[in-house]
């Protein structure tokens, strides 16, 4: 088990290096450090000295991948890429272009993201499973047919529609909840309700449909027939026996997204003005702040890899037949 764990962690290392390589390549093809300096110093009255100084201040004064001024091994290591990657691996994200500390920003912005994403995830899971089981309960009837077509219709609606319609009707027309923004402490719930509701509703279509196929695979198995033969009611069979066994693939499938809940949702957060990591990232893309984007990509990849690891572990926890090797 421990050896397996170690191997996976070692395997994660080249993946993270690859991730850094890709982000570096993508961003510096667009934005040479000279360009970035010009954008931040303003287009007018820029002297070459000022650019050099800006680059030195922000650590962009070294070549990207290959330092021709140094010899031997140093020509590869004394570069922007290696320097930045080393710092990322020690979770030292450096400063954003406006001088703020990225690590601190991430720490404070993580909680609003989590406050939206975690309830949305849990409530969404419960709602989706309930819908899936109800549709299975009515299988073979017209109600099932209507339910499945309804789910397909729900998943055919653009996510943007749910957000815009929710904001318009619930917040603007009926004024039940604030349109956007975020509050401190106990008052925050008023701002959280609408985004959570919108995320849950927009996820029902694809989520419930997916869980339905999982539970349908369970329903043909022998233990279900035994349970029915014992004379248990169909509802009891579904919500006790099938649900319990069907939870294995459901939970292991859900575990991979758990760590990513920290980074929040890009679109939801920016529509609802939540000061979380999703809106942080979108703002960084729009202002082309490379340091933030790279930090967020790195964080996202680390969390994804942790998610994969957790998935494997959760398999062994819920199903003793699976052994890691």
């Amino acid at each position: 088990m421990i050896r397996y764990f170690l191997r996976r962690v070692l395997y994660a290392f080249p993946i993270l290096v690859g991730v850094n390589l890709i982000t570096f390549f993508l961003f510096f093809v667009v934005n040479t450090p000279d360009n970035m300096a010009r954008i931040h110093l303003g287009v007018k009255h820029v002297t070459p000295e000022a650019i050099q100084q800006w680059k030195a201040e922000h650590g962009y004064d070294r070549p990207l991948f290959l330092n021709r001024e140094r010899s031997g091994f140093d020509s590869v290591t004394d570069t922007l890429f290696v320097d930045r990657s080393q710092k990322l691996f020690s979770f030292d994200f450096g400063k954003a272009d406006d001088g703020r500390d990225i690590a601190r920003d991430i720490k404070t912005r993580m909680w609003p993201s989590l406050a939206i994403a975690l309830p949305a995830f849990i409530v969404g899971l419960m709602v989706n499973i309930t819908f899936a089981l109800l549709i299975i309960f009515y299988r073979g009837t017209r109600l099932e047919y209507a339910g499945v077509v309804g789910l397909i219709a729900l998943m055919s609606i653009s996510g943007l529609f749910y957000i815009i319609a929710g904001q318009y009707f619930i917040a603007k027309l009926w004024q039940w909840l604030p349109i956007s923004g975020f509050g401190e402490g106990i008052n925050a719930y008023r701002f959280i309700l609408l985004p959570v509701l919108v995320s849950v509703v927009s996820g029902i279509g694809s989520g419930a449909r997916w869980y339905r196929t999982i539970f349908l695979e369970e329903i043909g198995k022998d233990y279900v027939r035994t349970a029915r033969a014992k004379g248990l009611s169909e509802l009891r069979v579904l919500f006790r026996h099938v649900l319990k066994n069907g939870m294995i693939p459901v939970l292991t499938g859900a575990v991979v997204v758990l760590p990513l809940l920290f980074t929040g949702s890009l679109v939801t957060e920016s529509f609802f003005g939540i000061p979380g990591l999703g809106s942080y990232t979108i703002d960084a893309i729009r202002s082309q702040d490379f340091a933030i984007v790279q930090a967020m990509v790195f964080l996202g990849s680390v969390l994804y890899i942790i998610g994969l690891l957790l998935t494997d572990i959760s398999y062994t926890l819920v199903d003793p037949r699976v052994k890691l090797s």
Partner: protein
Amino acid sequence: MSFVPEVLWTDALIWLLVFACTFFALHVVRTPVLRSSWHTVLERPMGMASLVVLGVFVVIGLADSLHYRTRLDNGQLDVEVKSILDRALVQLKQHTERTYSAPLATHAQARETIEKPNGGQAREKPRLQFGGAHLADPEKEWTGDVLIRMASGLSYGLIASIGFVCLLTLTLNAFWRCGISHAFSRLWRPQDKDPAWRSLMLSSFLLLLVSGIIFSLADGYHVLGTDKVGQDVLFQTMKSIRTGLVIGTLTTLVTLPVAIGLGLLAGYFRGWIDDVIQYVYTTLNSIPWVLLVAAAVLIVQVFIEQNESSFSSVAQRADVRLLALCVIIGLTGWTGLARLLRAETLKLRELDYVTAARAFGVSGPRILLRHILPNVQHLILISIVMDFSGLVLAEAILSYVGVGVDPVMNSWGNMINAARLELAREPVVWWPLVAAFSLMFALVLAANLFADVVRDAFDPRAAGSSGANS
């Protein structure tokens, strides 16, 4: 005035795709197994109906993919690139108002200061230049006029529907040779294993009636209103169809070779090839998708700005950006299918017929092409149709983030993005949003239902598990 055809990049690729689809259709007709699978798709009412709706979208999209420019009187080419669809809808395109007007309105939405003939000034809603311009007294005549137009549109639709049934009966009679009355009754009471004719006719009726009403109203009004600069919203939504279709199909064209190639190689050869390919797709997967696409689109944007002079028209520039977007989404989106194909190939390579082929000394690439690929093609087909709707929806999200199609291009994402803040206006401007969302919904719903039917018909394992077709 003469016309000079103009072939944009995406046009060429779309027509190539049409060509490939025709070729594939011929192949299906000649292969009994494939033919029976597709036949089950047509037997399902849902499959037939969604196919009809998709067909209408495709026809509109194709009409919008034949571009030309006019040669002006002085011998120079017009800067504007038009399509056949523009020409068909020329009235909608040219009837632009000054600013917002509600659907079927005769007056603008907002009050303006108007000079009265007697010299005074008044704040009132001005009459529209084209919407309801034929009415002398809109207050009294509007209801009657709209009803009459709807009725006449409905009757046109009915006539077209009857014509359609007659044509269908005659065609099938020629095919079955059973007499016209018999063919007609068989259309309504299909025999076993007949395609779902009733569903075909009902969905066509519905479409013909609705489009009859819309076009007879569009003659005198803006059926879906006008936007901020007075452009007809109906025209914009129709033009957006092509963008959605291009993103949904051309992206797959990029994805397929990469996904098939890498998936089969990894599964068949295993060893270090498998390790490398797995490494590549885990790395790609672990980068948040929107960020990856955003970074790549920014590169393309800079590239296009630097080479501004090499594009002779705005349409060309927008087209290159659209193509680049498809390539980017395709190159970042192949991992799912590749993983699926790898797993399937791992299973297939151990089967007896593959072992037998290997024992006969058949080379690796040949085994992949002749023995493995044909046995995973149902997976490929299913993933093509399932991905399509997701891609159409993704366009709207990307346009919202600011890394979608060119801002001058008509697309649902751009329409939604532009109309997002209009809900905050007083009085509220809802029609551009509703128009964009509902057309997008119609296309995506049809595609999803079709995908569901196709999956059931082609995937023996999932067969019977879906209630949508039982």
